[in-house]
């Protein structure tokens, strides 16, 4: 429970007092908020547990209910993070090496955790009176909460240097989370010192930084010192100093890296003054990708963007095709690679495909890439076909090319490529696929949803399904939702499902299906004995509208509307 929540509860209580609904409702709110504020300064889990009971017994007003819910949510997150909301408690527990402190959330202003050098002088001057102040707080707990909070805060503040030493010497924390509110008030030197201190923490395994500016070179150098770091995550970050990330190279323990919703900013520019300055810079992640590729245990890389309009972000140059290929080529441990909505072009896909397929017969058994998700990029037909041709020889089992502008021609080429590879595999002509002997090496999951493959593409995939009878060599999941197919393509798939013996999951939702598709699947699934899940959700009202107008323009328009409605 942090002080802000507490004050919020108090404001609600005052508001409730000003506008009482019933006399019975206002009283418990006051009691609740007062009870929280009077006990908040103790900052211990035990106290908070005790707070729960009286509130739970009152349960009359919506305000007290929300206070209770907020408390419970915070408690559920982690018993260790519960006390993180107050900086004083964090520093105390850091300094005392509290073994229950596993997750360190630095989410408040730095002044909540330590005092700056200039503030230390003031504190030293007033240090003589500190003891008297503290003694007076307990007596005045219910009288003036703000005053109490300040006095207690002064008592428990430590210097920045002591804070860094506490960080470095702590042996219990395994997870460090930093957020904008903490980072933005640090000077560049202080920020670097904090990162270096985190890098020296002996047991830290996971580091996450969200909603902040991240000097990538400093971060990599700092965390390069860590001896146990296995997961590094950055989210909604502005990246600076991206030119040298070799500090992270050859990290023996790093297993997972993810980067979500990032942008670049020129060095030496203030974040606040560049909110609208998204111009492309020379910044990119080439150095980082090269460094990651050298990490011997790196198994998962996720670089994603969740924002709807990627054109407003400078993502197109975030990585050169060569650097992306180097990540795959140099890493022998990479299992899962996700690059979603990051503006990949056909050139990236071609380079990536070359890297996947470039392994020699000796190298292939060392390759571990099994999951490749390239959703919502701009690969087009050429890039997608290159990827598919590479993955069927590269041992990839799960390929997602959702929303990559693959049309009917591209889908036919993809199906043909898969068919050729399948025949080659079945005849034993193809060279070793790079997978272990014990496990299947054939593509098992294929996601082509939100690509306008139309009926021609659907029919081509149906032909592919017809040829898959071997349980070891065949698609097990096929996702074709919102693929702009009509009954022609869907019925072709239905007839293929009748003969197919490998497919377990089929998704055809939000295609332009009429009853012929349903009837065809009903007939086919009387015979099929392998399919376990099928999605035939269709917007029926859309079909009724479509039957009134058969022009291509209106058809396309209705389909778009359907997709938007589904979204």
């Amino acid at each position: 429970v942090n002080d802000k929540d507490c004050l919020l509860g108090e404001k609600k209580a005052k508001r409730g007092a000003e506008h009482p609904r019933t006399p019975n409702q206002t009283q418990p709110v006051k009691q609740t908020s007062h009870f929280i504020t009077s006990n908040i300064n103790n900052h211990t889990n035990d106290i908070i547990k005790r707070i729960h009971l009286p509130i739970a017994r009152t349960h009359q007003t919506s305000s007290s209910f929300h206070d209770l819910k907020r408390l419970e949510v915070k408690k559920r997150r982690s018993s260790t993070t519960l006390a993180m909301a107050s900086g004083e408690s964090v520093t105390d527990r850091l300094c005392s090496n509290d073994p229950t402190l596993l997750k360190l959330h630095l989410v408040q202003e730095p002044s909540k955790y330590f005092t700056r050098p200039e503030e230390e002088e003031d504190e030293q001057k007033s240090n003589g009176n500190a003891d008297d102040d503290v003694n007076s707080t307990s007596a005045a707990a219910g009288a003036d909460d703000d005053n109490v909070k300040t006095k207690v805060g002064k008592k428990k503040m430590i210097s920045f240097r002591a804070f860094l030493e506490a960080l470095q010497s702590n042996t219990s924390v395994t997870f460090v989370y930093m957020e904008r509110r903490f980072v933005r008030h640090l000077s560049r030197a202080e920020y670097a010192n904090v990162l270096y201190a985190i890098g020296r923490m002996p047991n830290v395994r996971q580091v996450e930084i969200w909603c902040a500016t991240v000097p990538l070179s400093t971060l990599c150098t700092a965390l390069g010192q860590s001896c146990r770091l296995d997961r590094l995550g950055l989210g909604m970050v502005t990246l600076v100093e991206t030119d040298d990330c070799h500090g992270l190279a050859h990290r023996a323990t790093l297993q997972t890296f993810y980067l979500s919703d990032f942008r670049f900013l020129e060095n030496d520019q203030d974040d606040a003054s560049n909110n609208n300055n998204n111009n492309k810079s020379s910044n990119n992640l080439d150095s980082l990708l090269q460094a990651l590729g050298t990490c011997p245990k790196l198994g998962m890389v996720e670089i994603v963007n969740h924002q709807n309009d990627s054109s407003e972000n400078n993502h197109t140059d975030w990585s050169s095709p060569r650097a992306l290929a180097a990540l795959v080529t140099s890493s022998t441990s990479l299992v899962h690679l996700t690059l979603r909505r990051v503006g990949l072009q056909a050139a990236h896909a071609t380079a990536l495909a070359g890297a996947i397929d470039s392994a020699t017969a000796e190298q292939r058994p060392l390759r571990r890439l099994r999951v490749l998700h390239l959703d919502e990029n701009h690969l087009g037909n050429a890039g997608s076909i290159a990827i598919v041709q590479a993955v069927v020889n590269g041992g990839v089992k799960d390929l997602s090319l959702r929303n990559n502008q693959i049309d009917a021609t591209g889908c036919v080429a993809i199906a043909d490529a898969l068919m050729l590879a399948l025949q080659a595999q079945q005849e034993g002509v193809a060279s070793s696929s790079g997978a272990d002997d014990e496990e299947s090496c054939w593509l098992e999951k294929l996601n082509l949803a939100m690509n306008p493959i139309e009926d021609r593409g659907g029919s081509a995939l149906a032909r592919l399904l017809l040829h898959q009878h071997n349980q070891q060599l065949g698609l097990k999941q096929l996702e074709l939702s919102r693929a702009n197919m009509t009954d022609v393509g869907c019925c072709a798939l239905a007839h293929a499902v009748r003969e197919n013996t490998t497919l377990l999951v089929l998704g055809l939702s939000f295609n332009r299906m009429k009853d012929a598709t349903y009837l065809a699947f009903a007939a086919s699934l009387k015979v099929n004995r392998t399919l376990q899940s099928i999605n035939l959700v269709s917007e029926r009202s859309f079909i009724a509208c479509l039957s009134q107008s058969s022009s291509p323009t209106s058809s396309h328009f209705s389909f778009s509307c359907c997709c938007r409605a589904a979204n």
Partner: protein, 107 residues
């Protein structure tokens, strides 16, 4: 007219899907919009029956029904039938379906 046609067709679809799922012991998940519309939807009863068969498939209908030897005797043990009944204990139709399929479990 459009609405009437659509409903007639959809009832045929519902009936076809119901026939299919009655014979298919493997399907566990079928997503359609047939049940949308609440109790006034004429397809609700179909949807409920389809849902029942899917539950039975989850409960291992394939093992119970296809696990019979040449003489028609059940390979599945009696307790497996009882366990299947337990999984659909809140649906009288489900219990009736299983008991009619193997009355010996009442012995």
């Amino acid at each position: 007219v459009q609405q009437i046609d659509r409903r007639e067709y959809t009832i045929a679809v519902s009936a076809a899907l119901l026939d299919m799922i009655a014979e298919n012991y493997v399907l566990r998940n079928v997503c359609t919009m047939l049940a949308a519309g609440g109790v006034t939807n004429p397809h609700t009863s179909y949807a409920n029956q389809i849902r029942l068969y899917l539950r039975l498939n989850h409960a291992g209908r394939k093992h119970l029904f296809e696990g019979r030897d040449k003489d028609g005797l059940d390979v599945a043990a009696k307790n497996e039938w009882i366990r299947a009944i337990e999984t659909v204990h809140d649906d009288l139709n489900g219990i009736l379906y299983l008991v009619r399929a193997n009355p010996a479990i009442c012995d």
